[in-house]
């Protein structure tokens, strides 16, 4: 008996000892920036990614013709200067003298190669369509023309010409996006698909990938060839794909993270108290909106669509249910969008009080023929993630309040599934959100063009709207263009194929001793601008 006990306690003691001996984590150098990026990158190949967390890592490694300023506005990157032709369709760039991290020069042909590569179907880039504004890009992608007809040409080592299908004043925003990053032709030719392995990767930005452990961390170190290497405050950046927000709080509390690109919006106040100075929010180019399936008979009538849209008590939802900082939305395009009119368009009932809207909603539905004998029955589906499950009952309550013959059913769907159903048009009213890829009204309005296919969830089809948006594409005068886009948005809002709900905010946690972090609507914060005080 005693013997048994002895053995057990001895082994426990041994275990405890060995643990104590190895206790303590390794010290982190003050030259290391540790960023939480909330999810595991699918890839570090700029042509094979599609998400913001990947952009955090990749944007530290590659620099396009334009690049992000500290506040994410487009500033010159690899381009030293550029000229735009009279018709706004030809952009000519002169490149800087710059080298890849292996010492090879960055040339115009690296860009030409990159544009061709991302637009080659076998690259399987999910983002290829963002470049369809380049002349013949869509045709090249569809195999209709050869590569030499693509509107990107390296005239010589230092000169790159890009021809567009139509003048696009927002081109710099696209050229700073990772779809437009150059990739090293010589390295891709040598290593093929393995070129992104840490031992092979060649970059033209400030940091180069050194380690990539899936679901664990990525580590990038300074690229000595980077022109601004002397100004970098951190010699390495470690990215942690932590998706558990409780865990993130523990890591911040124990000093294991310097930044994280998300937090639980419901706990904003609590976080402000626990981590003074860490909580950073700013208006973002993200609109949550509900799509109405316009192909369904009950939703054919714009009066029905407007009635359902105006009944939703956005103030209550935004103030009582959602992340602090969200703003009720009365348009699809969020405020602060570039190249747009000062006030933008607005739903016609935006200035009515919630009570008046309820009365009006009921009147509209009655006018449309609904009533006790002809109840309005429909289904609302919503995503299982983020704030959406919490707000769904409030949405239902608002609709129930119109009249007892309005009978909404609410149904939660796994987020993936919800988007699949939306794309297939297999829904009645469905929740979703759109995060702008570049800062321009077009990035929202194209979603409702009839040729947007599955991206136009509710299959809104208004030839006048289509024509107006297309005409705006060819307008060179920015003010005139903005007016046209506003007119288009107004037309669409009056038809109400989508119900704007709220504009979202960026949600970052940033150590207050860090400098150089500038809140911005794009929510892009390059590591090279960030420093640690003292």
């Amino acid at each position: 008996m005693r013997n048994k006990n002895g053995l057990l306690s001895a082994s426990l003691a041994a275990l405890a000892l060995s643990l104590a001996a190895c206790g303590g984590g390794s010290e982190v150098s003050p030259d290391t920036l540790r960023r939480g990026i909330s999810a595991n990158p699918d890839s570090v190949d700029p042509h094979k990614v599609s998400s913001q967390w990947e952009n955090i890592v990749i944007g530290d490694m590659f620099i396009g013709l334009f690049t992000d300023g500290a506040d994410a506005t487009p500033v010159l990157g690899m381009a030293e200067s550029y000229e735009i032709s009279e018709d706004g369709r030809t952009w000519t760039f002169e490149l800087k003298d710059a080298n890849w991290s292996d010492g090879e020069p960055v040339t115009a042909s690296d860009f030409e190669f990159a544009f061709r590569r991302i637009l080659t179907p076998s690259t399987a880039s999910q983002y290829a369509s963002m470049l369809f504004l380049i002349e013949n890009a869509e045709e090249f992608y569809g195999g209709e023309v050869e590569a030499d007809q693509l509107g990107v040409e390296a005239v010589d080592d230092d000169t790159l010409v890009i021809n567009l299908e139509y003048p696009a004043p927002y081109l710099p925003g696209i050229l700073k996006h990772y779809v437009s990053f150059p990739v090293p032709e010589h390295a891709i030719e040598e290593f093929g698909d393995d070129w992104t392995d840490p031992e092979n990767i060649v970059v033209n930005g400030p940091y180069r990938l050194e380690q990539f452990r899936t679901g664990d961390f990525l580590r990038s170190v300074v690229n000595p060839e980077w022109e601004g290497v002397e100004d970098l405050c951190f010699t390495e950046v470690i990215y942690f794909p932590y998706d558990d927000l409780d865990a993130v709080e523990r890591y911040i509390q124990t000093g294991r993270l310097d930044m994280n690109n998300s937090f639980d919006g419901q706990r904003t106040d609590e976080l402000r108290e626990r981590f003074p100075g860490w909580v950073r929010t700013a208006p973002a180019l993200i609109t949550t909106y509900y799509s109405i399936n316009t192909e369904l008979e009950i939703f054919e009538d714009t009066r029905v669509r407007n009635a359902l849209a105006m009944a939703l008590d956005r103030d209550f939802m935004v103030n009582e249910v959602l992340t602090a900082g969200y703003e009720p939305a009365y348009s699809l395009i969020p405020p602060g969008t570039a190249n747009y009119t000062e006030d933008g368009a607005q739903v016609y009932w935006a200035d009515m009080s919630q009570e008046d809207r309820m009365v009006e909603a009921r009147r509209l539905l009655e006018d449309a023929g609904f009533g006790p004998d002809n109840p309005l029955e429909f289904e609302y589906t919503y995503r299982s993630t983020d704030d959406n499950p919490r707000v769904a009952p409030a949405v239902q309550a608002s609709w129930l309040e119109i009249a007892d013959w309005v009978r909404p059913e609410i149904l939660q769907k796994e987020t993936q599934v919800q988007y699949a159903l939306l794309r297939q048009g297999d829904f009645q009213i469905g929740d979703g959100a759109w995060v702008a890829d570049f800062n321009d009204p077009k990035n929202f309005l194209f979603l409702l063009q009839s040729n947007a296919g599955p991206m136009n969830y509710g299959r809104y089809n208004n030839p006048e709207y289509d024509a107006l948006v297309e005409a705006a594409d060819n307008e060179r005068d920015l003010d005139v263009r903005a007016q046209m886009l506003e007119e288009a948005e107004q037309m669409m809002l009056d038809d109400m194929p989508v119900i704007p709900m709220w504009y979202q905010v960026t949600k970052n946690l940033v150590d207050p001793t860090l400098t150089g972090f500038v809140d911005n609507a794009d929510d892009v914060h390059r590591s090279r601008y960030i420093c640690r005080e003292g």
Binding site: Y251, L421, M455
Partner: protein, 316 residues
């Protein structure tokens, strides 16, 4: 050859291994079609694809072909040991991912099992020998708690208490990929708690039974010292039910790791499995399913063989 080895029948093991092949085949088939029946695709997320782009991507990955063709191709690849590229983690193949994650999961799972057997077994023996005493009630009370509180509660609490308030262990994550006692102690203990509880209860019961059996009474009447009775005569019998518990327990450790890896931000295959399922990374999920199924079949076989070694009454 030692006597106990002679009790293992080679044909039996071969037969079991052969049965494992059709079992795996069924698992692969069911998992394949279940995975594909789920709505969504590995290429869809918030990002909306232009139809032309989507069609091209499907073609690149062969997903535009009929499902049964894809299934046959997949079977062929698996038979050659090729799990294919991960559909989401585009820089890595499924085999590379398993190679990264398995060491983490196996270390934590293995240590947790070991810890559970040592501690759970020890506590069970003490409880069994002191049946109905305060010690017994105390230990079994704790064991019942251990079974009833799920690890997704114990984990975060343990991380908070021993990682943040009394920071003797890491609150989660590894030390830049390195597994150190500092980083893996909490996950190992959390994962083992449930099994410590289960094992100690099993051990207690079988110990009590063994101490009451006829041959123990005979030994006592012959005046054999109590210590020798326990170690030589009671324990070998009492431990048998635990051996048959190894199979199910290892399955539990594997599935339990899904939760633990999530809670402690560990890059094991459990995390990959969850991410893969959510992202519809078909090949990754299939790879992990095949791995799990193989492990479970193997562990059950090991348990059966051990049983044969330990219990002279068992013959195959």
């Amino acid at each position: 050859m030692p006597r106990f080895l002679s009790r293992i029948s080679l044909p039996f093991i071969l037969k079991r291994l052969l049965i494992a092949i059709p079992t795996l085949f069924v698992v692969i088939t069911v998992a394949f079609f279940m995975m594909r029946a789920a709505p969504g695709s590995p290429f869809s997320n918030d990002r909306r694809l232009e139809p032309a782009v989507e069609a091209q991507i499907l073609a690149v990955y062969g997903h535009d072909r009929p499902l049964h063709e894809q299934y046959l191709t997949y079977l062929g690849d698996v038979a050659r040991g090729d799990f294919g590229p991960s559909l989401r983690n585009k820089d890595k193949t499924v085999s590379e991912l398993i190679g990264e994650g398995l060491p983490v999961s196996a270390t934590i799972g293995g240590l947790a099992m070991f810890f559970a057997f040592v501690v759970g077994g020890g506590l069970g023996i003490i409880s069994g020998l002191k049946q109905n005493s305060a010690v017994d009630y105390g230990l079994m009370g704790v064991a019942t708690l251990g079974i009833s509180i799920p690890s997704y509660v114990v984990g975060p609490v343990a991380a908070l208490v021993f990682g943040v308030w009394i920071p003797i262990f890491a609150p989660g994550g590894l030390d830049l990929g390195r597994m150190t006692p500092y980083t893996i102690t909490l996950p190992v203990i959390t994962l083992s708690l449930y099994y410590i509880a289960g094992i100690s209860r099993i051990m207690r019961g079988s110990m009590i039974e063994a101490m009451r059996s006829n041959h123990i009474r005979t030994a006592r009447s012959k005046g054999v010292p109590e210590r020798e009775i326990i170690l030589k005569h009671a324990l070998p019998i009492a431990v048998l039910p635990l051996v048959s518990y190894i199979g199910p327990a290892s399955v539990g450790v594997v599935t339990g790791s899904l939760v633990i890896e999530r809670v402690f931000s560990l890059p094991g295959i459990g995390s990959f499995f969850i991410d893969g399922a959510l992202n519809r990374d078909y090949t990754l999920v299939m790879g992990v399913v095949i791995l799990f199924a193989t492990l479970i079949l193997l562990m059950n076989l090991v348990a059966d063989v051990l049983y044969a070694i330990l219990d002279p009454r068992v013959k195959y």
